[in-house]
Amino acid sequence: MTDHTLRVLLGVAALLLAGLPFMPQWLAFLITLALARGLVVLGLALLMRTGLVSFGQGLYYCLGAYAAALLDHAAGIHDAALMLLAALLIPVVVALVLGLLLASYRGIFFAMLSLAFSMIVFGLLIKTSSLGSSDGFNVATRSIFGITIADGYNGRVFMAATAILSVIAAGALHRYLNSHLGRLSAAIRDNELRVEYLGASVRNVVHLNYVIAAALGGIGGGLTALAVGHIDPDMAYWTTSGEFVFVAVLSGTGSVLAPFFGSVIFEAIRTLANQYAPNIWQMTLGITMLAIIMFLPAGLWALFRRKARAA
């Protein structure tokens, strides 16, 4: 079977960018959010391929957002490119350190320790009054790569940036997963002792995947901060992380496209539910999740696979 992933990726991105000038503001905003959160989920999916579920990915989402926002808040830098760079670097540094510890944890203990780390950050931020405590603060962006963004074009510029970054991230991850190192991830999930016997370092692969997931989480958080223009500590709360896990389970880990697909569906359902049935929104999520776990253990992506095989 030939691999269409990269072509589909570029095609969809081109379509989005071409449609950008004709898109209403709200749609551009929704797509930005969905893609940004899709990036976080992409990182989670990578961890899941390795057999690890992080219940604290909100940590990096939040760190990325705060790193970007603090450039504006504390240093007076309003350039989107620099802010995103900070959103990438800070989580990577933190993940390099925490990864030293987490790389030797598995299963429920990995989930719990990553949960503890994210809750520590949440506990810190919510009591830091200089950062707005539980209210957070606003983020302003004026330029990108030094070019001033004209009034009213913020949303479109961010959507373009998000789409381009998503393509780069997904493309790079796709190549990584098909590399020697990337293929070890699934092997670790299946049986890590055998991987060790074959002479590969499980620890290093897990650590590397953890850092990559953090980088994706940070970028996703940074993009969300820019697009929404506001951040608060809830980004690190366990329910945020839970939502990411939810979308990862919903989409499945079969392809790098799946997280974005799942994320778009999730945002669409969320928007519709908020509009028409705000009272049963969580219930809808819960029932969907149960149905997916029972009937589609490999996620929504399995639907495409089945079709492809049948054809």
């Binding site: 219940f55 510890l101 719990m112 949960l115 780390f117 520590i120 506990g123 896990v245 219930m283």
Partner: protein
């Protein structure tokens, strides 16, 4: 001096409540290997139903002391209905799946129950402070505490001892220990594992509901009250070592004392301190303080 005393007393009260929550969680994990996120919702369900029953009881002009019976009735009702419902209707279909998948399933249950609670009771807070005020206060030095807190501590000690006694001194308890040790072999030896699972989950659920019922009079019962409780009780059982009753007690004491000290001396680090302790324990002893060594399976 009285400051320190206050820290210790508040710590004990808080620990008692945490322990009730953690016992149910750790019991379910120990036997069934399910880390139950829905525990927090069952706690909230217990609190809501207690508030409603107590409110109904008092509105009927009955003896106010009967409200304690209502608290107990609410907890039992939630446990005996929700426990079998969730175990028979849902979890039973999922045994044998990965621990993390089971965690996600209970997360889905949590999401569903959160909305069920909102649909049934609405989004307004409920207040039933009568059982809390009824017993008056007692003094320790210069400090005055509601007697109700003693009830809370008593309930915690009672549930803890009852669970320990059942596990170690009764036939069912010993069968349960055998199941914890090796599920398949116990099944082969003629132990009805299915029924023990049902009983365990029901008892665990009831414990969550008891936690909610005893808390209901002390605060405003409001939507989302289960959300924070979940991670707190996770912290407790993870510190103690998942599946260990003694661990749950120690974990509850540690978290209770740390939080109480933080609230008194340095309120800014309240949440931070609890989760820092959790992270530090996990780093030092990856499987918690009380945990048995496990054979590596190839």
């Amino acid at each position: 001096m009285s400051d320190l005393l206050a820290v210790i007393i508040d710590g004990i009260i808080y620990s008692s409540w945490l322990f009730i929550m953690a016992t149910g969680l750790t019991l379910i994990y120990g036997v069934m290997k399910i880390l139950n996120i829905a525990h927090g919702s069952l706690y909230a369900l217990g609190a809501y139903l207690s508030a409603s029953l107590v409110g109904w009881w008092l509105a009927g002009g009955h003896d106010p002391y009967g409200s304690y019976a209502m608290l107990a009735a609410a907890a039992l009702l939630v446990g005996l209905v929700m426990g079998p419902l969730l175990e028979r209707g849902l979890l039973r279909l999922m045994y044998g799946r990965d621990e993390v998948v089971l965690l996600l399933i209970t997360y889905a249950v949590f999401l569903i129950l959160e909305d069920v609670i909102k649909l049934v009771w609405g989004v307004d807070s409920l207040y039933v402070s009568q059982p809390y005020d009824l017993l008056g206060n007692f003094d320790i030095g210069a400090l005055s505490y509601p007697v109700y807190n003693l009830v809370l501590v008593g309930v915690a000690v009672a549930t803890g001892s009852a669970t320990a006694w059942t596990l170690n001194c009764t036939r069912h308890g010993k069968m349960l220990l055998a199941v914890i040790h090796d599920r398949e072999v116990s099944g082969a030896m003629g132990i009805n594992v299915d029924r023990l699972y049902l009983m365990t989950f029901t008892v665990g659920t009831t414990l969550a509901a008891i936690g909610g019922a005893v808390t209901a009079p002390t605060l405003a019962v409001s939507a989302g009250m289960g959300v924070e409780v979940i991670v707190l009780s996770f912290a407790v059982v993870v510190i103690g070592g998942l599946g260990s009753l003694g661990g749950a007690a120690l974990g509850a004491l540690i978290v209770g004392m740390v939080r109480s000290a933080a609230v008194h001396y340095l309120p800014a680090v309240e949440l931070f301190s609890v989760y820092s302790v959790m992270a530090m324990v996990l780093i030092a002893r990856p499987k918690g303080l009380f945990s048995a060594a496990e054979a590596r399976k190839i």
